[in-house]
């Protein structure tokens, strides 16, 4: 028939919009999803929404987005159901209150960990219970755009390893690789079930970067932990080949960065409390916080080339290699004095310790954001340290 469709129009006076992206991810890895906000009329000062996700396929942690940082607003969350998280953004920051316009940009960063056994396919991120308000306590009309996470299949499709399955060994986030970076490959049938790391016998797992063999830390059928060779330093890309004996299992061209820092956390999924030692050498925790003004030690990887130059697989010894790039730390959003950074004595090249002083002018708490900057790259969001 020739009857043409009518097209429904948007004609409301929308004040606020939130949206989640559509992304792809590999099982066993982490991705960062920004929840974007647009303040169309500038009138919105607070907003709330529920976000439903597939809790069987992924777990979710939220941290403040760039739009929130420094705005005087805070993000408050609760789990209203195993698969539904509620977010509320309002002008309460400590004891400080405001009714200023909510800035546009990233409200919340969702740190999604895709379960290793997550089923391939599209997993929806669905908004509901969206309410926006203005400074008069009236309601602003708001709209949402749902997102999704497509979990990539690897097995059964002839593809053993996707680029999204190449992640920093500390943060579990994908990105460019850096010399000396602890790296995790999450794929399917990329290593023998009974591996002998480092072995040269037929069938043993080997990973090469531009022909340079990488030290392996651990292997499992769907996962390889390794250290990126220092020989890729200065390159723009590197060709990574995963071999089982003479058989090429996977090959990817990866971007190279001067640094790709990741901070090691107590939780093996790369979020939450950092593995930090207080000045007295005891582990930092909510029950054993660091005092402001004291030094703490954090552990990280992906700090790039060092001086003296990194040697693949070598245990660090004097003189301890130190990063060539400038290193800085922010605690609670406040610049911290970096006192010392180097490889960790008697540990394999690629693991670094950074000693910094907790700023005295920061707001203490049991879970204060901790960010490591190496050159132009920053560590993963969602890492915290306890300070009092």
């Amino acid at each position: 028939m020739n009857l043409l469709l009518p097209a429904l129009l948007f004609s409301a006076t929308l004040a606020a919009q939130v949206s989640a992206p559509t992304v792809s991810a590999t099982p066993g890895t982490r991705i960062v999803l920004p929840v974007l906000f647009t303040n169309l009329t500038g009138s919105t000062v607070g907003i709330q929404f529920d976000l439903q996700f597939d809790s069987a396929a992924m777990s979710l942690v939220a941290v403040d987005g760039d739009a929130i940082t420094g705005s005087g607003k805070s993000v408050f969350t609760s789990a209203v159901a195993p698969n539904k998280r509620r977010f509320l953004i309002a002008g309460l920051n400590g004891a400080s209150l405001n009714q200023t316009s909510l800035p546009g940009g990233t409200l919340v960063k969702l740190l999604l960990y895709v379960n290793p056994k997550a089923s391939a396919g599209v997993h929806a991120l669905t908004f509901s219970n969206l309410v926006a308000t203005n400074a008069d306590g009236g309601q602003d009309i708001a709209a949402s755009t749902d997102g999704s996470v497509t979990v990539l299949a690897t097995s059964g499709q002839g593809v053993r390893l996707q680029q999204t399955g190449v992640v920093n060994g500390a943060s579990l986030l994908p990105g460019p690789v850096a010399p000396g970076e602890f790296l995790r490959l999450a794929g399917s049938s990329i290593a023998p079930s009974n591996p002998i790391p480092g072995s040269t016998i037929p069938g043993a797992t080997m990973v090469f970067f531009d022909g340079i063999r990488a030290p392996l830390l651990a292997t499992a059928p769907d996962q390889i932990d390794l250290i990126v060779p220092y020989g890729i330093s200065g390159k723009l890309t590197t060709q990574m080949n995963v071999m089982s004996g003479a058989q090429l299992l996977a090959s990817l061209t990866l971007p190279v960065a001067a640094s790709a820092p990741g901070v090691f956390t107590l939780d093996p999924t790369g979020i939450g409390h950092a593995g930090v030692l207080n000045q007295d050498g005891t582990p930092n925790s909510a029950s054993n916080p660091a005092l402001r003004g004291t030094a703490v030690t954090l552990f990280a990887t992906g700090l790039g080339q060092t001086s003296p130059s990194g040697v693949d697989g070598k245990l660090a010894w004097f003189p301890l290699p130190m990063p060539l790039l400038p290193v800085s730390v922010r605690v609670g959003g406040v610049e911290s004095q970096a006192l010392y950074d180097s490889a960790v004595l008697d540990y394999i090249a690629g693991l670094h310790m950074v000693v910094c002083r907790i700023p005295t002018n920061m707001v203490p708490g049991p879970a204060v954001p901790l960010l490591l900057q190496v050159g132009t790259a920053a560590s993963q969001p969602g890492v915290t340290v306890a300070v009092k």
């Binding site: 020739n2 009857l3 469709l5 009518p6 429904l8 129009l9 004609s11 409301a12 400590g94 709209a143």
Partner: protein, 166 residues
């Protein structure tokens, strides 16, 4: 055939005011401050029982939070209820077919349908107000065109209407 443009229009009417003059003092300590704001946030997040009566009994959300913030910053505690009842107003671009007789309006509670026919007779205008919506629910709308021979087009694009609660 193409369909383009997504949207909905929410039209809100009035309803009676609710709450008391000191309703923003949620912890009943004689003053409204950041502690009351935190209490309002906990109520909105479901972390505390919703005992506020600012936007109406049993209503705890970011609007209540913002009203408590306003009161803590020196404003009068706003206990005016939100306009009720709600309605959703749709508009659409007319079909460019020459012999269109009118439009059917469909609604579903689920994205993608199945849709239920909302209108008993063809709508000849290019807008429609659905006054049968309920607060707190989400509706999905689509329309189609019907020509003078009784032929129907496919559904238009779908729009989602989020009806505020209450």
């Amino acid at each position: 055939m193409t369909a383009a443009g997504l949207a909905f229009l929410l039209v809100l009417n009035t309803c009676p005011a609710a709450g008391a003059a000191n309703a923003c003092d949620l912890n009943n300590d004689g003053k409204v401050d950041a502690a009351d704001v935190q209490t309002a946030i906990d109520m909105a997040l479901g972390l505390a029982a919703c005992t506020a009566n600012i936007l109406g009994p049993g209503v705890c959300n970011v609007i209540v939070v913002e009203r408590v913030i306003g009161a803590a910053m020196g404003k009068t505690c706003n206990t005016t209820g939100l306009p009720l009842p709600h309605s959703a107003t749709l508009s659409w671009v007319a079909s460019i077919s020459p012999n269109v007789a009118g439009y059917n309006i469909y609604r579903s509670n689920v994205a993608g349908g199945p849709y239920q026919l909302l209108t008993r007779s063809l709508v000849t205008a290019t807008s429609y107000e659905d006054k049968s919506v309920q607060a707190g629910l989400v509706y999905y709308y689509a329309v189609n065109a019907v020509d003078t021979d009784g032929n129907s087009s496919d559904y238009s694009n779908e729009v989602r209407a989020v009806i505020p609660a209450p």
